[in-house]
């Protein structure tokens, strides 16, 4: 078999991975596969191993599966959420099947959110913004990127306790299970700790921004109960 055919088959195997995986590893995986081919590794071994990885990746991404100890602390609820609660959190017409993701570790909010969104294949980017201690681990804004044609319903906020003790900070989101819109979520981080885990990610500059969505107003009590603890 010619090298170009081998490369095409391996590329086809790579396309089986979720978009999130491909955007992260796709480029490097292609380079790596070429190097392995050059080393004499059989094409079928490379393609087969990638396909095995696809199976594991898909199995791992099932919403009901516990996704490792880094996510063990996160509260994720998957279900037809109680209608009474949904009525207060989502607009009329929204899907009744939702996922509620609540930040449980303010200091690790960025990673918790990013992992949770990725594990459910949401096209939601997480951006860090250095903030005062009170807002660390709070969701500062939720912005739709580009024109949204999503009809699965709307994302709604879950209000909880601010790190400094006040109430009403946004510490979670309820997202329709089939939400496919492109969204950017900005989360507050402590300035000193923000570059430990993701030095490769661009970060927004430390400038005052619109924080209207996190003003500590009265919160609907019991919002957190929409989540189902997995730990």
């Amino acid at each position: 078999m010619r090298r170009s055919q081998e490369t095409r088959i391996i590329a086809a195997a790579l396309r089986c991975y979720p978009a999130r995986w491909r955007s992260r590893h796709g480029d490097e995986a292609t380079v790596l596969a070429s190097a392995l081919l050059e080393d004499g590794t059989p094409w079928w071994s490379i393609a087969g191993n990638f396909l095995g990885g696809v199976v594991k990746e898909q199995a791992f991404r099932k919403p009901s599966v516990r996704v490792g100890s880094a996510l063990a602390a996160i509260t994720i609820g998957i279900a037809a959420a109680p209608l009474a609660l949904l009525a207060s959190l989502t607009p009329a017409g929204a899907s009744s099947t939702t996922i509620t993701i609540v930040i449980s570790k303010p200091g690790d909010a960025f990673r918790q959110l990013e992992s949770a969104f990725a594990s459910h294949h949401f096209n939601i980017a997480v951006v860090e913004r250095p903030v005062s201690t009170n807002l660390v681990g709070s969701i500062l804004s939720v912005n739709t990127v580009g024109a949204s044609s999503d009809n699965a319903g709307a994302i709604s906020e879950v209000h909880g306790q601010c790190k400094g003790g006040g109430r009403g900070c946004v510490d979670g989101l309820t997202i329709p299970l089939h939400y496919s819109g492109s969204v950017r979520v900005t989360v507050g981080v402590a300035t000193a700790s923000s570059d430990i885990h993701h030095p490769y990610l661009a970060r927004e500059p430390c400038t005052p921004g619109p924080l209207a969505t996190v003003s500590c107003h009265a919160t609907p009590t019991g919002a957190r109960t929409s989540g189902k603890k997995l730990v």
Partner: protein, 112 residues
């Protein structure tokens, strides 16, 4: 069961899989990207990790906070072991050493 749990409370790598242990061992002497990891691991262990296995393990280790990605170099992502990763590897190697010593004693091979 108490004796089987000795020393395992800190051994987060116990259930992470052999590939994860091999990767952390490879990263113990400095950052490496995917291809360099495969080559290094093959060199010191004789195991050739497949690329799908490699990326699965890298994702798992990163989620556990045991490795971190460094800025991309020429379409490749180098990874480094975090402080937590070094600690986890040390704990795991200690646990393996205890098993090794026990096995050798029981086989009449003495201690290493």
């Amino acid at each position: 069961m108490a004796s089987s749990d000795v020393g395992n409370s800190q051994d987060v790598l116990r259930r992470a899989g052999d590939a994860s242990v091999l990767i952390l061992t490879s990263l113990a002497d400095g950052p490496k990207h995917g291809y360099a990891l495969i080559q290094d691991i093959k060199g010191f262990s004789g195991v050739q990790l497949g690329p799908g296995t490699l990326y699965g393990a890298l994702d798992r280790l990163e989620r556990l906070g045991l490795i971190a990605e460094l800025p991309t170099e020429d379409r490749r992502h180098p990874y480094r072991a975090t402080a937590a990763g070094v600690t986890a590897l040390r704990s795991h190697l200690d646990a393996l050493e205890r098993v090794s010593m026990t096995g050798r004693l029981r086989l009449g091979l003495g201690t290493v």
